[in-house]
Amino acid sequence: MDLLIIFTKCLVALLLVLQVGILLLWVERKGSALIQDRVGANRANLFGGILPFNLGIVNTLMADPLKLFTKEDIVPEGADHFLHWLAPFLALFPLFLTFAVIPFGDVLEVGGRTINLQAVDLNVGILFVLALVSMGVYGVVLGGWASNSRYALLGGIRGSAQMISYEIAMGLALVAVVLTFGTLDLQQIVRAQGQLMWGVIPAWGVFYQPLALVILFIAGMAESKRAPFDLPEAESELIAGFFTEYSGSKQSVFMLADFVEVAIVAALVTTLFFGGWQVPWLQRDGFHFPGGLSLALPSLLVTLLQVLSFLLKLFLFCWLQILIRWSLPRLRYDQLMNLGWKRLLPIALVNVAISAVLALALQGWTVR
């Protein structure tokens, strides 16, 4: 029974990240159309438009993957076949694992059991995420190298330099967050954010570490290699950068990896800075509003509300990233490096120093 529960939790985490990734594919197509005042994908409709509403989402979700997976898989001449095949999986697989430690709810109380809504309860969760995100770069580097193409190689080299640079700022932002919460366990961090500041405001990470939030969000967007940080892909100069020589299903795996990375950044921001699954003033037994008003709710409903709250925040930050991706122009390569090394890194260092001093000097500053 326990084994079954663990299996189910892992399956839920995997399906969650897959569904979010594929859904983002549609949101990106329709959302970019909305931003650019176009109609967007409109050829896929169910039942020939008899229904009063457009069911295009269903068809787009079916038609897009179907088209991609039935295309011819081309391996360029002189390419390293093994690495060319391996690279897309190296790009996607570590990202899938990341969601294993993201808590998507508090606990589920069913039949006398208390199930922790997190696929794997790891006491070094933040490091796990950081380690796997840093693995994603191999897909980019090898995809670029194995293709035997100048464009792809340039994209791969740019990708490795960019991801290494921004990983440092990202790690330092996370250090400041860890100083605030005093733990590396993501579920504990979310639980701590259920407290209230001065009995009114929820003690979310954003109120303690606003700078870390900005740094993590920018660095996370750079890690996902999308505009304004899409130098490794750079459509206007490198065709498609590191995956120029990829087609069919392998290319779609690279595309999916991009969207999964967007979802991971959103999940991290939600978990660390916006209370994860926490709903403001909602405790295990119901709402407790400041001012003494209370509303008792059954445990199952509370759990449901919390999971919905997590998903809502997740999609909000995914949408924010898509919005930025379609609104801002691309950085130049030197601007990219300057932003990473001369702006984000020093700010992150100062932030860590200030956080450390505050955590030592003011006992009440940290959230435990």
């Binding site: 796990f128 770069v137 191999y138 290494i164 990983e167 790690g171």
Partner: protein, 160 residues
């Protein structure tokens, strides 16, 4: 036990690929694989922090830079150098000394059972040790790395 032997054999095989394969890219990848397998061994020893730091720092950062350099130089397959008897002798002696040291350690510590504290491998326990008892070696290591960074910048400047 099975997991240990599996990891041990795989990491030794992967380490052999590092030194025997002709393509530098494959050598670097095999090294990444070896580091990963060793990290898995750390996890089996309850040292989660060390394991993930190993993946982040070595597999995730240093090896990426290795690959970066290999790709920038676009190095082809290596050419085996024959001869150099002195170098070969020195290498053999070093390996023999290392093997002797490891063997002596295994023989000396055999059958010794040490009870582990409950907090073994936890972040708090490791940090406590690192910043109190081992703070001097820790700081000296940081200084050494600093020297290396400054040296690299100086050399790069002189060339340019």
């Amino acid at each position: 036990m099975i997991a240990f032997w599996l990891l041990a054999i795989l990491s030794v095989v992967s380490a052999l690929v590092v030194i025997l394969h002709r393509s530098p890219v494959y050598c670097a990848l095999a090294l990444v694989n070896t580091l990963f397998l060793i990290a898995a061994m750390f996890v089996m020893l309850d040292a989660h922090l060390v394991a993930f730091l190993q993946v982040i720092v070595y597999a995730g950062a240093i090896m990426v830079l290795f690959l970066f350099v290999i790709m920038l130089l676009s190095a082809g397959d290596e050419v085996r150098l024959e001869g150099r008897g002195g170098l070969r002798l020195a290498a053999t002696l070093t390996v023999a000394a290392l093997a002797f040291e490891l063997g002596a350690l295994v023989v000396a510590k055999r059958g010794e059972n040490v009870a582990l504290p409950a907090s073994f491998g936890s972040t708090e326990a490791l940090a406590e040790r690192l910043f109190t008892r081992h703070v001097l070696p820790f700081e000296i290591t940081s200084l050494l790395l600093m020297v290396a960074v400054v040296g690299a910048v100086v050399l790069a400047r002189r060339k340019a």
